[in-house]
């Protein structure tokens, strides 16, 4: 882990602090996650060839797995 220092606008800092608290993580962890999300994926690992190998057209597909696997209730 590399230790570094960043400067934030006061308003951004207030928002980050509030969102981190809501997510139950530290400000540092929240910022690390935001950076991970923003950075492009760059890997030639063998499993990465499967990334996005299907295109369901459903932006909520990962949140509707139970409906597909177990079926919906009548």
């Amino acid at each position: 882990m590399i230790r570094t220092q960043i400067s934030l606008e006061r308003n951004d800092y207030t928002l980050v602090k509030r969102e981190a608290k809501a997510a139950g993580v530290s400000v540092a962890e929240y910022v690390r996650r935001a950076i991970r999300q923003a950075l492009p994926a760059c890997s030639d690992a063998p499993w990465m060839r499967y990334a996005g190998f299907v295109e369901s057209g459903n932006s909520r597909s990962s949140r509707t797995i139970d409906d597909v696997v177990y079926g919906t209730k009548d």
Partner: protein
Amino acid sequence: MARRTECYVDTSALIAFLDRSDSYHPLFKRLFSDPPPLATSALVVAEGHGWFLRRYDRRRAIQFLGFIDDLAALTVQPFDAAALSKSARLVRKFADRDLTLADAHGLVLIGERRIRSCWSTDRHLGLTGVSLVV
């Protein structure tokens, strides 16, 4: 260099990575590109395989199993009689929720392995206080 701590992966994280239409796809593509040690339940693999079988076809379901084989950072934990007993206890404890056995086994593993972070888009996995990446 700090040791990277183990994360739990549930079916939703796997599907978000594999389905480019999912709104969380960019996040999980980034996370899986350089993963820490990952743990999951055999039931999660069964759910993922079932998802591809129901949503697509056998060929894609088998490709999903190939992905699991290739994902070197992932340890798949067996679902045996002891795991069933512990998971069933959790299902009864959270009887007011639609908690699947796969979710419950995930919560058992998170507790037993002292995992603090969970790759999931499913809020059920946050029931016992583990931190979700979304």
